[in-house]
């Protein structure tokens, strides 16, 4: 995990596209808020692997969003029940219920339904917000951070150099 954090910090502080990190957070939010072993998370997995999304950022995001998802379970349950019981949507649910594909997604589970809807609604706001924050961070905070004495001390420390050499060795 420390490795992921360091990689993430490195990417965060690099010149890479901020949107790659932002997308990683957005996908992590979807996978974290919804039950992990659900069919839709296979799609998330496919997207994070195929699209150039930063995996370290994804795993960090997943670790952050999973407890949040657990915390909001009761709300997801209520929203899911509301949607699944909504009279105007019954035709859709009955259609899906009678389809093998949709049944596999477990859409009829209250928490799956509630959490997927919430995470989809939040996907683009989180994406844009993360992108914006990363850009701001690079423009306004990063330069100041680099000049901090503490950071310079860490970089100059024996432990940090040893860690770097070990990592380089492993990359070889």
């Amino acid at each position: 995990m420390i490795d992921y954090v360091l990689k993430f910090i490195k990417v965060l502080n690099s010149e890479r596209e901020p949107v790659q990190l932002a997308m990683a957070f957005a996908f992590a939010m979807v996978a974290g808020l919804t039950p992990l072993f659900s069919a839709h998370n296979l799609l998330v997995l496919l997207l994070i692997l195929v699209l150039r999304v930063n995996l370290s950022a994804f795993f960090i995001g997943l670790a952050l969003f999973s407890p949040v998802g657990y915390l909001f379970d009761p709300l997801f349950h209520k929203l899911g029940i509301f949607l699944l019981k909504h009279a105007d949507l019954q035709w859709l649910w009955v259609d899906w219920y009678n389809s093998a594909f949709w049944r596999m997604t477990r859409f009829n589970n209250s928490i799956v339904m509630g959490s997927v809807v919430v995470s989809l609604l939040l996907f683009f706001p989180v994406l844009f917000l993360a992108d914006l924050l990363i850009r701001r961070y690079r423009e306004q905070i990063l330069a100041r951070l680099r000049r901090l004495r503490v950071v310079e001390m860490i970089k100059a420390s024996k432990w940090f150099r040893r860690y770097q050499s070990l990592r380089d060795l492993r990359n070889v």
């Binding site: 994070i48 699209l51 657990y70 009761p74 699944l84 019981k85 209250s110 928490i111």
Partner: protein
């Protein structure tokens, strides 16, 4: 080329391979752990359903066709955690793969081999219940089969009857006594406030003092008379007030005495009613033998029916899952699990379906095999009820047995379940029919044919069972010298070789009633009728004597109290009359005084009138003289 570069900037192609590898690993893992997953799923679901531990020894998976072999399924009896309700050695089934892809478990053929019931467990199968246990159905007139006696043989202790019975007559008398006690308290304070002998003496004295003595002076006489009249008026007022008090008290007393008399009239019929009731209840009449069949077989049948219905209640939720799947409205489902909302299915294949399951059971008394068809979680979707039939010719002591049934929950609101059992030549030996000290009845041997139809419409049970007994050999090994009735009964039963029993079940699943009738009832009634009637008469006499003794003393007390009140009423009535007489005398005296006063007043008036007239004439004369004198003086002056 530039578009490819643009795609490459977004897409990470090795990632696709990574994804395929992850998915492949997942599929492989599922296949490798399928057996463990199925084992775990069966144990988890089964335990939740039964309310006690369900265990599977081993699960083997076959891939083509996709099938499972379950070995050593044990289902704990939730009411006896050290016993398995049933245990199945081997279960083989193949899954319909196409349906499985649509998340449905469809089994066309299932085989259950060596099903055994009530097998011992090595470890307790109890679990911590999350939900309250299902209540075992109870018979409305459930009886303990441990120790039963014929009422007709029980030594009836009259003192014991009076100890536990509430007698209307005694209760009524006690009520009357309590009321009398209250009335007595009220009256003792009331009597104290009423005029007593001293007061009457005082009135007599006061009346005697109302006498006029003339002083010779008319004015003084008038004043004296005026005072005497005032005194008489005051005395009359006092006496009238006392009359009102005594009269009101007397009326109250009369009403109370009347009520008391009425209560005693009502009481008159109660001892007889008590006697009749107690005799009817504890009567040693031959009619009391009408329930002998129930005593003989009822408790055992009730026990069987209770057990069967308890399992029915436990298993029914499986068939009514669709209707009862309202768990989504539960306020707090298990964290991170949520609830699955169900919707109508368009096909005719439910989530879980076993088209045909062949079952072979090995019971203690032999083997029985059969099949279950359309075992399904959603009969409403399938459109067919569950049916089962079992047949055996390999059971000890039974020539053959056939069990056929249907559980129809296609329309769960109008569910109809029925079971028909036919068994021929069931042979039984040395059955303890009655665990009674007075009448330890046993069936040394008997052979019977049984035919039973049980039907459950919704929650209502209707059932008829006919059992024909033959070659019966009743024995009664008395431990001590039997009474005359027990002896007669034993002799009558010894002569019985064949009899028929009809058992009727009615009520609801949770509260059913059982009626057992047989021709033994009539047989015993005839055999011991005379002895029973005689014993009944003896009991009646004993009850009557005891009852009379119980009500004699309180009744005497009530009568004594009544006599006291009646005496008081008479005294009050006499007092009223005496006071009224006194008031009349005072009134007469008042009238006399008034007349005297009037006479004196008239005489004094005449005198006064005469005096006034004389004075008036004198004044007139004086005036006339003065006028004449004045006239003469005027004439003298004018003449001069």
């Amino acid at each position: 080329m530039s578009s490819m570069a643009a795609i490459n900037r977004v897409v990470r192609w090795p990632g696709l391979l990574g994804f395929l590898l992850v998915v492949g690993a997942l599929l492989l893992g599922t296949m490798v752990f399928a057996s463990a997953l199925v084992k775990s799923a069966i144990e988890y679901t089964g335990t939740a359903m039964v309310g006690a531990r369900v265990e599977v020894g081993q699960v083997d998976l076959s891939l083509s066709p996709l099938g499972f072999h379950l070995h050593g399924l044990q289902v704990t009896d939730p009411d006896a955690p050290m016993i398995n309700a049933f245990e199945i050695d081997d279960i083989d089934f193949f899954l319909d793969t196409a349906q499985l892809l649509q998340m449905r478990t469809v089994i066309h053929e299932m085989q259950m081999k060596r099903l055994r019931v009530k097998t011992p467990r090595q470890q307790s199968g109890a679990i911590l219940r999350e939900t309250p246990p299902v209540e075992t159905p109870q018979a409305a007139a459930g009886k303990d089969n441990g120790k039963l006696d014929f009422p007709v043989l029980q030594q009836i202790d009259v003192a014991d009857i009076f100890g536990r019975e509430e007698l209307q007559s005694v209760q009524h008398l006690n009520r009357v006594r309590a009321e009398l006690k209250q009335d007595e308290d009220v009256w003792s304070s009331k009597v104290a406030s009423l005029p007593n002998g001293h007061k009457l003496e005082h009135y007599r004295g006061a009346l005697a003092q109302l006498k006029f003595n003339s002083s010779g002076n008319a004015l003084q006489d008038a004043q004296q008379l005026q005072k005497l009249m005032d005194d008489a008026d005051k005395l009359r007022g006092e006496i009238s007030a006392d009359i009102d008090n005594v009269d009101a008290a007397w009326r109250d007393l009369r009403a109370m005495v009347e009520n008391l008399r009425l209560s005693l009239q009502q009481f008159a019929a109660l001892p007889q009613q008590d006697l009749d009731r107690l005799q009817a209840k504890y009567s040693l009449s031959a009619a009391g033998l009408a329930n002998i069949s129930d005593l003989l077989f009822g408790a055992k049948v009730r026990d069987w029916v209770s057990q069967a219905l308890a399992w029915y209640v436990k298993l029914m939720p499986i068939f009514e899952r669709f209707e009862n799947s309202d768990s989504e409205s539960a306020p707090s489902p298990r964290r991170s699990r949520g609830v699955d909302v169900r919707f109508p299915e368009r096909g005719s294949v439910p989530d879980f379906l076993v088209h045909r399951a062949s079952v072979s059971m090995e019971l203690q008394i032999g083997k029985i095999s059969g099949e279950v068809r359309n075992l399904s979680s959603d009969q409403s979707v399938l459109g067919h009820p569950l049916t089962f039939n079992f047949f055996s010719k390999e059971m000890q002591g039974v020539k053959d047995i056939e069990i056929v049934g249907t559980l129809n929950h296609v329309d769960a609101r109008h569910s109809t379940d029925s079971v028909s059992i036919k068994a021929r030549s069931i042979t039984a030996r040395d059955i303890g029919v009655l665990k009674s000290d007075q009448f330890p009845l046993r069936l040394a041997k008997v052979e019977m044919d049984l035919e039973s139809n049980v039907e459950l419409v919704g929650n209502n049970i209707g059932s008829k069972m006919n059992v024909a007994f033959r070659d019966a050999d009743f024995v009664v090994p008395f431990k001590s010298q039997p009474g005359r009735i027990a002896e007669a009964m034993a002799a009558a039963l010894a002569g019985v070789n064949a009899f028929a029993t009809q058992i009727t079940l009615s009520g609801t699943v949770g509260d059913f009633g059982l009626s057992v009738k047989s021709d033994l009832d009539e047989l015993l009634r005839k055999a011991i009728g005379d002895q029973v009637a005689k014993a009944g008469q003896e009991l009646r006499q004993k009850i009557k004597a005891q009852l009379d003794q119980r009500i004699e003393q309180p009744m005497a007390q009530v009568r004594e109290q009544l006599a006291k009140f009646e005496e008081l009423a008479r005294t009050s009535e006499h007092q009223v009359q005496e006071l009224q007489g006194m008031r009349d005398q005072v009134a007469a005296r008042y009238r006399e005084l008034e007349q005297s006063y009037k006479a004196k007043a008239d005489a004094a008036g005449d005198k006064l009138r005469q005096k006034t007239q004389d004075e008036k004439q004198g004044a007139k004369d004086t005036m006339r003289q003065q006028k004449k004198k004045l006239k003469d003086e005027m004439q003298d002056k004018l003449g001069r």
